[in-house]
């Protein structure tokens, strides 16, 4: 379970202080398929970064399971992200010199998992995202939709507690978006994988099971469908 209590985030933009988040309380349970929505600059990406331990709140605490991530050292936090959180980025951010298979396998290598397990899981995940015939292709040989599906497989490779996706469909066409959402929803339904993503894409919002709307750094609404 993810629990964020009274999260504030203030940036110094030159001489001006920007209040990106102004006291957010949110709880996300295992198996949820949650979209954090809002216009640009509303604070949804900042919230996602703080939940993912990539950014620290100015005030407030984030608990993932029993861990207060603010108390972790830099290396512990990196290790925590590796073992507990999967990331999907807007621009896919695959490692350009590695093939689809190697990109998926990468986090498992960092986790020092044995070769047999790595091979088995990589094959399973690439099959799950429909790319079993593209395993030896490098990112620049794949379409944006295919790259984002590899990114989802990579995010799941380390067996994380949940996956954070920052605007995962922003660079995808309608067909690829639908395809990606089908995959994520299926993984959510069948394997109970928790997905939390920021988006302002209506196609994603329509299919999310819970929608948290953020505006001006505050939660405006929280609806479960």
């Amino acid at each position: 379970m993810i629990q964020a209590n009274n999260i504030h985030k203030t940036y110094n933009d030159g001489k001006v202080q920007v209040h990106a988040l102004r006291g957010i309380d949110v709880e996300i349970k295992e198996g949820e398929f949650t979209a954090i929505v809002g216009p640009s600059g509303s604070g949804k990406t900042t919230l996602l970064n703080i939940i993912g331990g990539l950014d620290a709140p100015t005030l407030g605490e984030v608990h993932i399971g029993d861990t207060n991530i603010a108390q972790l050292s830099e290396n512990e936090l990196i290790d925590f992200r590796l073992n507990h959180i999967g990331f999907v980025f807007q621009s896919y951010n695959l490692i350009p010199v590695l093939t689809a298979k190697e990109n998926v396998e990468f986090l498992m290598l960092l986790q020092k998992r044995d070769e047999a397990e790595r091979n088995e899981r990589t094959t399973k995940l690439l099959k799950a995202v429909g790319l079993e015939d593209q395993i030896n292709k490098k990112p620049n040989e794949m379409s944006g939709g295919q790259q984002q599906r590899v990114a989802v497989a990579r995010a799941l490779a380390s067996k994380p507690d949940f996956v954070l996706a920052d605007e995962p469909t922003a660079n995808l066409d309608s067909k690829s978006t639908a395809n990606l959402l089908d995959i994520m929803l299926r993984l959510n339904d069948e394997e109970n994988i928790t997905f939390v993503f920021s988006t302002h894409d209506q196609r994603v919002i329509d299919r999310a099971k819970r929608v948290i709307t953020v505006e001006d750094g505050k939660i405006l609404s929280d609806e479960t469908k």
Partner: protein
């Protein structure tokens, strides 16, 4: 996986990697060739003057080197105990004196070197320096004259030179000896003033029975300092002195030191250029990759591992550059070792005025190549400090925002 990542990253921007590797190749080639030429020149000087003439270590009667008179001679029997000493391959007794030589109406003061022909033939291959006439045969009377002496006095083989000088304890040294050969001592100054005769002839000429002024200590290893110390320990140092080539030829030592400093300065400039070139590459590489490093750290790769990949990348390029640089440098160095650069014109005059042969062969000493390969590696590691600092302080959110 880290190695695979680093290796493949090199081929991501082939042009940049090629420029980096090329700059390293050039640096290694230039540094190795330049240093080989420099050390080759020193080696040639040492070979011509020290190992093929004076020896690395000599024994004299105390005070001989400051005041080269025959009165500062010593009995050969005083150093007999050295013949079986460890580290000494031979002892070559010599007499170094001065006399006026004349032929018809031409005279010239010369340095006379009396030596054991058989020993000098065996150990310093003196016979191979004879360029005209014959080497001493059966210790018969005769002279080898420096080719410069021949030219100055317009002498020929078979001419008999008349000697007049001062012998031991004020005696008159006089004699007449035929020229049997002309010798090239590879050092213009020596060639202009040296006349060589057998030790027996010199002892007779200068009235020095069983005595010598100098004993060249032949060494069978490179550590002449050790031989000098052991030799000094084995003889009566109240009577005799043991000197090394640097003490006997301080000007040569100084020349080498000054020239080395000049060479080092040029190399420092070269290495500064290479350092900045490599730093430029590392700077670009780090800036370009900061987004990617941010992603890697965000998804759970420890910063130390990211640093390892970045450093491995530059080390792989440096390795390739150094190896290719050494491979490219080798034929150049080998060619100029076999075919030394023959200075001509003004350069030749200047070099010969200092008393050296106007030939510069390159040195094949592998330590030169290894040293410069090592320096390149150190430079690579030093410039990577920037990458280390940059990655250590990297904020993944800021890096990915770029």
């Amino acid at each position: 996986m880290l190695l695979k990542l680093a290796w493949r990253n090199i081929f991501r921007n082939k042009r940049r990697s090629l420029i980096t590797v090329s700059s390293i190749i050039f640096a290694v080639l230039f540094a190795v060739f330049m240093r080989s030429l420099q050390y080759g020149a020193y080696g040639n000087m040492l070979k011509n003057i020290v190992s093929s003439y004076m020896g690395y270590v000599q024994i004299h009667s105390k005070g001989f080197w400051e005041e080269k008179t025959l009165d500062n001679s010593f009995l050969l029997g005083e150093i007999n105990q050295l013949k079986n000493q460890e580290g000494i391959s031979y002892l070559s007794p010599r007499i170094e004196g001065f006399a006026l030589i004349s032929l018809s109406e031409t005279s010239k003061p010369v340095a006379i070197l009396g030596l054991d022909p058989a020993l000098e033939k065996e150990h310093i291959k003196l016979d191979q320096k004879v360029i005209e006439g014959d080497y001493f045969s059966d210790n018969k009377n005769g002279l080898l004259i420096g080719k410069g002496v021949k030219e100055i006095m317009k002498l020929s083989i078979g001419d008999t030179l008349v000697f007049l000088g001062q012998g031991y304890q004020g005696s008159i040294a006089s004699g007449a000896y035929p020229i049997v050969g002309v010798i090239d001592l590879k050092t213009p100054e020596l060639n202009k003033r040296t006349v060589i005769m057998t030790l027996n002839q010199a002892q007779e000429l200068f009235a020095l029975p069983d005595m010598v002024t100098t004993a060249v200590v032949g060494i069978n290893h490179d550590d002449w300092q050790d031989t000098q110390e052991k030799t000094a320990a084995a003889i009566d140092t109240n009577r005799l002195e043991v000197m090394n080539w640097q003490e006997m030829l301080p000007e040569l030592k100084q020349l080498i030191t000054v020239d080395q400093a000049g060479g080092t300065f040029v190399l420092m400039i070269l290495y500064s250029i290479i350092t900045f070139s490599l730093f430029g590459t590392v700077l670009m590489l780090t800036e370009e990759r900061s987004f990617e490093y941010g992603v890697l750290i965000a998804i759970g790769m420890e910063k130390n591992k990211v640093i390892q990949v970045a450093i491995l990348e530059t080390i792989l390029m440096a390795t390739a550059g150094v190896i290719v640089g050494l491979i490219v440098a080798f034929p150049f160095v080998l060619y100029f070792n076999i075919n030394p650069i023959n200075l001509s014109g003004q350069m030749q005059e200047v070099v010969e005025r200092f008393g050296f042969e106007a030939l510069i062969p390159t040195s094949l000493d592998p330590s030169i190549a290894m040293t410069h390969a090592g320096i390149i590696f150190v430079i690579v590691l030093v410039v990577n400090i920037y990458t280390i600092v940059k990655i250590k302080s990297l904020n993944p959110i800021k890096a990915m925002r770029k």
